[in-house]
């Protein structure tokens, strides 16, 4: 089979496979990619090595498909991952107004616009610009992370203290949510230190170390909230068109491209953080722009980070996907770069075409089955997956993560504070104080 045909088939199969994966709440594409790498190594050891023209486009297509289609369970089943937390609140509002299909498709259009930006904007410019940017910024990554942490902690808006006479009572009411946000950040940071210095997950599953914590922090609180609140999803309108115009798309691409690009380029900065920065930087007030920009941001973050590994002259490994694939393949030529871009373009198109079909199917499911049962099923799948991959120790980590993840849900503070689990320990390590803190905590 020719290399071109192999790339084409691998991309199509990867995109189709990710459509199944993306609709399962709680399962991250990186979890499956980690297991696939183990399988590919096993095949090679058995004398059946797979060529990179098959494995790399397949992996790229999986990432693209998942980052586009995972919006469906995030919005309609209410089980978001970290990078989707910004999409879910406005997205679920659309769902509760019977416009879940429209909200999902708007995010999908944003994702497709993100694929266009990657192929026609980032693709040609990255090899010229990014090596220069990387040369300048490489020595300063540590402080950039600290500055981002400072902004996250300072920029939350007080949600209480709105009525009544001036005084301490009003102040304390306002600071309930802010205090809960700070507590969430530092508890998550503490959990992050424990996972980094005393990982409880078995060493053979070390690449899944963070997965149970993320599931606990982000997905499970949402499922629990759906279960407890007993939300009833109204009948959904499945229209033939979506209320967007070129200006809305352009604004979304600008906001999401900046946020996702920032998250993809800088280490540890995730899609959620990118979304936050983009939303603030572009001062978006239109909810449609906000939803679509999160679709752009998510694709740029996941796919762009993976693509960076292939940019000639850059040699940058960012994001879990690139780190997993790095053990399989080292890109060397412009041909590798074009191969990945082709896979991204193909998978982006296929995933977008699948989006309407899969969203309709999920909406039909929610219409027929009580939303509580759907949330319970999503919760059960998530817990089973965590147990299957990381066993009892993973479940214990997930439970701790859930406890921390429930704080922002209960006190109406920012869920993004849960990212303290990554940001704080890594920032400490990058500036050399991580081991001192770990020693102080008795972890080493």
């Amino acid at each position: 089979m020719s290399a071109a045909l192999t790339v084409l088939l691998a991309s199509l199969i990867g995109a189709a496979g990710s459509s199944v994966l993306a609709c399962l709440p709680g399962l991250h594409v990186y979890n499956l990619m980690g297991l696939l790498v183990v399988f590919i190594h096993w095949l090679a050891a058995a004398g059946h090595p797979l060529p990179p023209e098959a494995t790399i486009p397949f992996m790229a297509a999986m990432i693209v498909g998942w980052s586009i289609l995972n919006t469906i369970p995030s919005i309609i089943l209410g089980a978001p991952d970290e990078s989707a937390i910004f999409t879910v609140l406005p997205g679920q509002k659309y769902l509760m107004f019977g416009r879940g299909f429209e909200g999902t498709m708007m995010t999908g259009i944003g994702s497709l616009a993100g694929v266009f930006l990657l192929i026609f904007g980032v693709g040609p410019l990255a090899p010229r610009i990014l090596p220069i940017v990387q040369t300048v910024l490489r020595p300063y990554m540590g402080w950039i992370l600290w500055v981002i942490i400072t902004f996250i902690l300072m920029s939350e808006w007080p949600k209480g203290g709105n009525v009544g006479p001036a005084g301490w009572r009003k102040f304390l009411d306002a600071w309930k949510s802010l205090g809960a946000g700070l507590a969430t950040f530092f508890l998550a940071a503490l959990l992050g230190f424990i996972l980094l210095y005393r990982p409880p997950i078995a060493s053979e599953m070390a690449f899944q170390n963070i997965m149970p914590a993320f599931v606990g922090l982000f997905a499970i609180p949402w499922c629990l909230l759906n279960l407890i609140s007993g939300a009833q999803v109204p009948p959904q309108h499945v229209g033939d068109s979506v209320d967007v115009d070129p200006e809305t798309i352009l604004r979304s691409v600008a906001a999401g491209g900046l946020g996702g690009g920032f998250a993809a380029f800088f280490p540890v900065v995730t899609g959620g953080v990118g979304g936050l920065l983009a939303g603030h930087a572009t001062a978006q007030r239109d909810e449609r722009v906000f939803i679509m920009s999160q679709g752009v941001s998510k694709v740029i973050y996941y796919t762009g980070a993976f693509m960076l590994m292939f940019v000639p002259g850059l040699g940058l490994t960012r994001g879990g996907g690139a780190w997993i694939v790095r053990g399989l393949f080292t890109p060397r030529t412009w041909g590798d770069y074009y191969m990945v871009m082709a896979a991204i373009a193909l998978a982006g198109a296929v995933s977008f075409l699948l989006m309407g079909f899969l969203t309709r199917g999920t909406i039909r499911l929610v219409a027929r089955v009580n939303y509580r049962y759907v949330s319970a099923a999503a919760l059960a799948i998530i817990i089973l997956l965590v147990f299957a991959v990381t066993r009892w120790s993973g479940l214990a980590v997930m439970l701790v993560g859930t406890g921390i993840g429930l704080i922002p849900v209960l006190f109406a503070s920012r869920r993004l504070n849960c990212l303290g689990i990554l940001l704080f320990p890594i920032a400490c390590n990058m500036t050399g104080i991580g081991p001192d803190i770990a020693r102080f905590l008795g972890l080493i």
């Binding site: 910004f86 402080w143 600290w146 115009d245 200006e247 352009l250 909810e287």
Partner: protein
């Protein structure tokens, strides 16, 4: 301007100092953190601390079960007349109307100088994302108005929208029995937005982190004050020497997307330039500030501007949005 624009400007201000860049390169981020922190601090002090202790003379708290626009208009007009009659400043707090866990009654307050009246108009119920709830818009106009009986001088926008979380504050300053000056958010941009207070904080910071940090802190703080001066409201720049806010330059509104984005983008370019010229590894590349501004600023912003110009043909022109308190801070209220 929005918080992130101030924060980015503070970080950009820090990047101009060689000692900040050198320390960051050695793994010490304190100067950059202080720059960003001081850039955002004036608004943090106002919105997270001071406003909860600011005393008002009149609290207008509409009944969520029977919100009455006429009653609100009369209460506001009463406050204006009291200020004129008693020749003093009357501070009025307008509360939001919460209808449910995620629903708020939106209303607008407009001071009409030609008719010399205050008008209050009820809009739809909105969710916390400020999106109108379908079918909640009043079928008939729900509007109240009351005569002011005095000449009202406005220092800010004429229309204010009240919907989610906290409502705005007005201060009516009675100058003569016939003349009242209206100040929007009187607790905002007062002592916290002065160079003198910034200098005091910088001096305190200097005692902890040394004089170099002190200089960075002052510049981060000053960047915020200068940016705010470009808008409508202005600040009380030399408190306690000056007692009132200066008028702004009226070049932009705090919540406008474009100036906020440009401020963030320009800050990023300046940070990049300052890092590049102090990074020996980057010496192999031959570029200066002009190159960075041209290739990193003018070209992408120009291309985007052209595309937006083309795209706007598809969308009807929208009326200018009324003033909201959130414009002054700008959290997206989600996440």
């Amino acid at each position: 301007m929005k918080g992130i624009a101030h924060f980015a400007s503070g970080v950009a201000a820090a990047s101009f100092f060689p000692w900040a860049v050198a320390a960051a390169r050695d793994g010490n981020p304190v100067h950059f953190i202080l720059g960003g922190l001081m850039g955002l601090l004036p608004d943090t002090l106002d919105f997270k601390f001071y406003r909860f202790f600011y005393k008002h003379d009149v609290y207008i708290e509409p009944d969520p079960n029977d919100p009455n626009p006429q009653r609100i208009a009369e209460q506001i007009a009463d406050a204006v007349r009291t200020a004129a009659r008693e020749h003093r400043t009357v501070r009025v707090k307008l509360s939001t109307i919460r209808l449910g866990a995620d629903y708020w009654q939106q209303y607008e307050v407009r001071f009409d100088p030609e008719a010399n009246r205050v008008r209050v108009r009820f809009g739809p119920a909105v969710n916390t994302g400020q999106v109108p709830v379908p079918g909640s818009a009043p079928k008939e106009a729900r509007e109240g108005s009351a005569a002011l009986d005095v000449s009202l001088v406005q220092t800010y926008d004429a229309t204010t929208r009240v919907d989610i979380f906290d409502g705005p504050t007005f201060a009516f300053e009675g100058q003569t029995p016939q003349r009242v000056v209206l100040h929007f958010l009187p607790w905002h941009r007062e002592w916290t937005h002065s160079f003198t207070f910034g200098a005091l904080l910088a001096a305190l910071g200097g005692l902890i982190w040394g004089w170099r940090a002190s200089v960075v802190m002052l510049c981060g703080y000053a960047a915020h004050l200068i940016e705010d001066q470009l808008g409508f409201m202005g600040s009380n720049l030399f408190f306690p020497i000056t007692r009132k806010r200066l008028s702004g330059l009226h070049w932009m509104r705090s919540g406008d997307s474009l100036p906020n984005f440009l401020a963030v983008w320009l800050s990023c370019l300046l940070i990049f330039w300052n890092l590049a010229r102090r990074t020996p590894e980057a010496a192999i590349y031959d570029f200066g500030l002009a190159h960075i501004l041209f290739y990193g600023g003018l070209i992408p912003v120009g291309v985007f501007g052209l595309l937006m110009h083309w795209a706007k043909r598809w969308r009807p022109t929208e009326a200018e949005a009324p003033l909201e308190m959130a414009d002054e801070w700008g959290d997206n209220q989600v996440g």
